[in-house]
Symmetry: none
Subunit: 442 residues, 2 copies
């Protein structure tokens, strides 16, 4: 049995970018020798995170890749955001991603100017969040709002009279020059759920309204405007999630897992599945992250006895969203430089490298196109692919086109942990190899 | 957001044909420069309409490609045939495809000699159909029979005393030198359904018997036999369908859709989904169709404000069924010539070209093999495929092997209409982009 490392380069897949005459990966394909070494010695392919044409969010993609069924087990994004932000959560609470945004008032409506408040960050956001929380408490609203990274924050609604529901629509309209919409219950839900959802949406809508009424006149925003920056004068929520318990990764796959990730969402996902954090200095969840420390963190995790490590690198996705294709290519080259840190564990570790989805550097958004994947496994099968880019993984990939849900079984198989189908002695084979049940006595 | 054109070349996929040293597409692969241009600039792959090894009928394939679930939503083929024939239908009626065929009487049985009555068409078929309808009315049968194209027709059974059922077997034995079988209820249906099905089958069996008794002595058939042609002396039915309402294409996918198609079946499918017809002069649903007008009809549809057009070309399938591989290849070259008509819309339109299934020019029948697909999208991803044929789409296709059910999501994604999974503001995300719910009032 081998150890297993899953490296997710967020938003790795891309479209053809005219300026680069290829995708970012194709543009640097002759300069990423460490990726190419692993691709040459390993097996490659393409991976549809969910299904062809379905653009996943990062959390739905990660959950699927970790082997959880989106349709049956997804709690909503807010749960991960809140966990990743370090909040203590209790079952029955509803957590939401809550970004600072910029709106203008027109005809009693709030029109979205910027969904990220000019990518506000640091002290400004901290002060605004702290003061807003005080204001919401004074207004008697049963919520907790905190700032996390850049323009991002988390809102938790606590149940006071009766249960809450996460079956409510987003306040964030997901585009600009459009009014903010009131949250409302999903259509097609039962009567009982609807009553809970109406109550939850009411609290949420009051929070959003109060956030505008309070933030619009806050001195921090006055100063921002003086400096020519956009004010953070509203909180835009999305991805309501009811705090629920996921089956632990260990119970499902048998691995004792740790993670190296800085982005709160990814930390939250890993924590929801019971993975243990390995915190490294300089990890930021942005292109300026300390890659060396992150890769060294992986080695540290294995040294501490974990047999599965999830390494998440976010910068690739950020640069795609900003349509910085060339910078994305350069960041991939940077990652390639540090990839050699892993070479000392090649003999006893299965290493998979892929993305959670395609983020087009042309359109600046997630797409449902497939993502290159490489898996380097001791004694693992070889295809004749020599490069880690889209075209070569398409034309020479020995895995073919797989789905996100296939990744965990493939990793179990290549790390010598899978039992043959049909001869399983238990629905949880990994745990019970040689240890399940009672020995037969003569 | 881009407009979307879906071109279905019926029965496009094929097998290796010895005489051509390849499939028809492979035979002309160096002569179809317009197809190749779109393939080179776009993304390609192979498409299994249903599942590997499952040969679809044209209607089940089209429905699946349009994103409807065959297992749950299929009404039966007759519904489409009747709609496509321009019949006014009412809920509760049962419609069937009803072909003219040729039988001989032997031991009081009717043995099928030809399932298409020597591909009878035109005036002969019109007269026979008109006179047969009169005869059936005189016999008091609650049915409507009309001739459509070539040997094809449609039979509609109207409910008189109690409800009808479409759960009845085909009268058409689907092969020659075999007796016609009486229609009977499906096995494994409930008691209530069985009573309806018995009644429906009884009416149908009387119609088929009367069709023989009446047509065998009809003067048109006497003349046909004098000319050495096969008589159309029976009506063979199949694909019973209960008139039902499909969820409109617009509600499901958000597109305002039109279609350019001549074959009644395809017109019927499009109409059943609420697509609007764009009728063009010279469209026949055969290899002699006016291709130029059909492609120009597509441009006209977009000019009229539709944002989705379904263009259907039937000739490829007809020639495969007749085992005319070389003619199929030549017809594909003809299509290629007119494909350039579409080049003026490349900048703002996603164009997908594929078949609904493989029709083997060797075996003359539908097969469950995959079909080449190309998608040209503005800013769309490039693989390094330069040709639109089976082998190149297999070896270089960046979509890999997808399924018919994936096509609509892929088109939504590439036309910038898809919402990320997990951030949906409503169960029907496409409709609610920027439009969901009520503006939040201050």
């Amino acid at each position: 049995m081998y150890k297993t490392l899953l490296v997710i380069l967020d938003g790795l897949g891309d479209e053809y970018v005219k300026e680069l005459n290829g995708t970012p990966l194709e543009y640097v394909k002759n300069e990423i020798n460490n990726f190419n070494k692993l691709a040459s010695e390993g097996i490659t392919g393409m991976m549809y995170p969910i299904e062809p044409g379905v653009p996943p969010s990062s959390d739905t993609a990660h959950l699927t890749i970790f082997g959880y069924d989106m349709k049956k087990e997804y709690s909503g994004r807010g749960v991960f955001e809140a966990l990743g932000a370090g909040l203590n959560l209790e079952e029955g609470q509803v957590a939401l991603r809550a970004n600072f945004g910029t709106v203008v008032e027109r005809d009693r409506q709030l029109i979205v100017v910027d969904r990220r408040a000019g990518r506000i960050s640091g002290r400004d956001a901290d002060i605004l969040a702290r003061d807003l929380q005080k204001h919401l408490e004074e207004k008697g609203l049963p919520v907790k709002f905190i700032h996390t990274l850049e323009h991002r924050g988390v809102l938790v609604i606590k149940p006071e009279e009766g249960e809450l529901s996460s079956k409510i629509t987003d306040v964030d309209p997901h585009e600009v020059n459009t009014p903010i919409y009131a949250s409302q219950p999903f259509e097609n839900i039962g009567e009982e759920e609807k009553i809970k959802a109406i109550k939850t949406a009411e609290i949420l809508n009051r929070v959003v309204k109060e956030s505008y009424l309070f933030l619009k006149d806050h001195p921090v925003n006055a100063e921002r405007e003086k400096r020519g920056e956009l004010p953070a004068n509203v909180v835009l929520t999305r991805g309501a999630g009811l705090i629920t318990r996921y089956e632990p990764f260990k119970d499902r796959w048998g691995y004792k897992a740790a993670f190296v990730a800085a982005g709160p969402l990814y930390r939250g996902i890993a924590m929801a599945l019971g993975m243990e954090p390995i915190n490294v200095i300089g990890a930021t969840g942005t292109p300026s992250t300390n890659l060396e420390n992150k890769f060294k963190g992986v080695l540290e995790a294995f040294r501490r006895g974990y047999d599965f490590v999830f390494l998440h690198i976010k910068g690739t996705d950020n640069l795609s969203h900003s349509k910085k294709a060339r910078e994305k290519a350069m960041f991939i080259k940077e990652i390639d430089k540090h990839l050699s840190i892993l070479f000392e564990i090649l003999d006893d570790t299965v290493i998979a490298i892929t993305g959670d989805h395609t983020t087009s550097s042309v359109k600046g958004k997630h797409m449902g196109l497939p993502v290159p994947i490489l898996i380097h496994a001791p004694g693992g099968r070889f295809d004749d692919n020599k490069f880690f880019d889209e075209t070569d993984c398409i034309n020479h990939g020995g895995l073919g086109f797989i789905h996100g849900r296939n990744i965990m079984p493939v990793l179990l198989d290549l790390s010598d942990r899978a039992n043959e189908l049909g001869i399983r002695t238990s629905p949880k084979p990994v745990f019970y190899i040689g240890a399940g049940g009672t020995p037969l006595k003569l």
